[in-house]
Amino acid sequence: MSDPQPETDEAAEPSEAVGPSETAEPGDTAAAKPVDDAILRVDGLEKRFGGIVAVDGASFSVERGTITGLIGPNGAGKSTTFNCITGVHTPNGGSVVFDGVDITGQSPDRIATQGLVRTFQIARELPEMTVLENVMLGPKNQLGESLWRSVVPGARDAVVQQEEQLREQAWETLEFFEIDHLAEEYAGTLSGGQRKLLDLARALSTDPEMLLLDEPMAGVNPSLETKLLSRIHDLKQQGYSFLLVEHDMDVIMEHCERVIVLHQGSVLADGPPAAIRSNEAVMEAYLGGDV
């Protein structure tokens, strides 16, 4: 990659951060990637709503094959940053580079097809579609998404065949997330925690390279939370990258290799959890700046 590293203290951490992924199964593609390879690079991101500056020149990057936490007090600009990265908002300035491609200002669907997929803070299920339909929506390159293929008799055979494969994958995904008993219910009838799981299952079914998870643990019961986190670690081993917004500090400190702290729209601190925990500026931002 030609871009220079935007921050100097970054180069030191990845060796420690990417450490666990080295233990991935032999032959895994991700293991072969260079350790300092940033999959997502946000540079000088700016977003204004009228007179309010929600994101004010935030710069950070996410290393490939890591779990990175994004934290910050309420109103720090975490969700707006997410929305700017995923194309929901068009940033007023700065750039977003994903996997070496500048995706700044692209439409959400174009960004998602390149492998950068998000979940939502408040789970957005498709209420009058069944749980299975929700998950079947995810996979990329579905033949039957072409109108003529789904209508013309001869071409439809291939669609049906692919659907049978996708169905199998969908059931497996639902079993993993323990919502397979709800497979044929409308998604609108699910509880809050189940919706979060469905949201994540659906995002995973697109086979992304990187997932942006907006508070994935909120409303999920503790035993499932443990399972979810171990699943996220599994996926990380396989080369997936994660950017995680989470309010549960224990989760952030235990599971993230790196933590980025946003405050008033810009990056306040960026480093390994231990460093963040002892950072005075961060404590101040969280516990009230005027102390």
Binding site: D109, F120, M129, E133, S146, S150, V151, R156, E184
Partner: protein
Amino acid sequence: MSDARIDGVWSRVDGLRTRLDALPQWQSDLVVLLGGVVVTYLVFGLVGLVSGVSPNAVVGFLQTVTFFAAVFALLTLALNLHWGYTGLFNIGVAGFMAIGVYTMAVLTADPTGSPAGFGLPIPVGIVGGTLAAAAAGAVLALPALRVRSDYFAIVTLGFSEIVRLSITSGTLREIEVAGTVYGTGGGSGIRYTPVDSLVSWLLGLPGVGAVGEVLYAIGGAVGLTESIVDRLLYALVLIGFVVLFYVLLRRIARSPFGRVLKAIREDELVARSLGKNTQLAKIKVFAVGCGLMGLAGILWIGSRSLATPESFLPVVTFYIFVALIVGGAGSNTGSVAGAFVFAAFLWEGPRFLRTILRSTVDARAPPTIYDAVVDLLAFDPLPLAGYLIDSLDELRWVLIGVVLIALMIYRPNGLFGDRKEIAAATDLSRRPGGESDE
């Protein structure tokens, strides 16, 4: 003794129901739908005959119901693709019908007529009109789909009124090209070869002609004139189109494309966040639906020999919406059922009732409702009855309102709306083999 008999009947009904449930959904749908139609026709026929309406009038009534049920079914299915499936609130149905019909009219009208046409064969006109409506839909979709749902509705309504008023306007009324006067004919309309001559065109094809001879012979033996046989055949052609629409829409609905459409309806941002190009899908589905609306318009209005702008008032769109709401938005079977219920009970039913009442109740309508009430106070209800019978055309609107309100309370999703029609090309409930529960 009689109790046992009643029990026997009930157990039979139950047996029928379990057998119906055992059938694949489309087969049980068909049974329910056809059963409903047959029962309705029998009831209307018997009531008509018993109350002394002439057999000809009864047959004519049933034929009219069939015709309207079929054309409404075509339009309702097309609207279901837009509104029921994709959530596109298109209230400009009449405009796309108008584009289809007028294109067909100009293509097929007599070159020596006024306004003149190109005198092309009927099938060319039908295909041309359908494509024109689809193209208009695609062009309108480009700007219209940029606005959000309720504004989109306003744009489509505006578009349909622009189409109707353009047709009426003096500017497009007569356009002289190389000595021949073309145009829309303005308020007085445009004449053309009616589409039901499709029947004679079909019968003119080699091979099919022989079938026609046989049908005319059979009709003649039963005492039906050739024109009645022709009308019956046209009704069959319409039903054929309904089946075609149904199969097309069912295939669209039960595919990954249909899944994307449903996702757009439920939450477009989710669909986009999963990498679905919703803009393109919406344009495609809008164009296809508009083309189907144009085709439906051609088969309905085009079966007369004259099209006027009055046939494309916004209220036509309203009828289609009522039919779809009654049947259940989102369900293709419901669309057809709703169209039939609308045609039989809300559209033609009251007219038939008036015919029956006219022939049985000897009540003359007083000039105003006031006179009727005065007579009622004098214990003479007949004038009021006569007044009501005379106003049945207007009372239909009250009936439609009552039916909609009752439906919203007791069956808010319509007759077939609370069923799951899963958007997938295979049966999703089949789990991968040998999988045991944890």
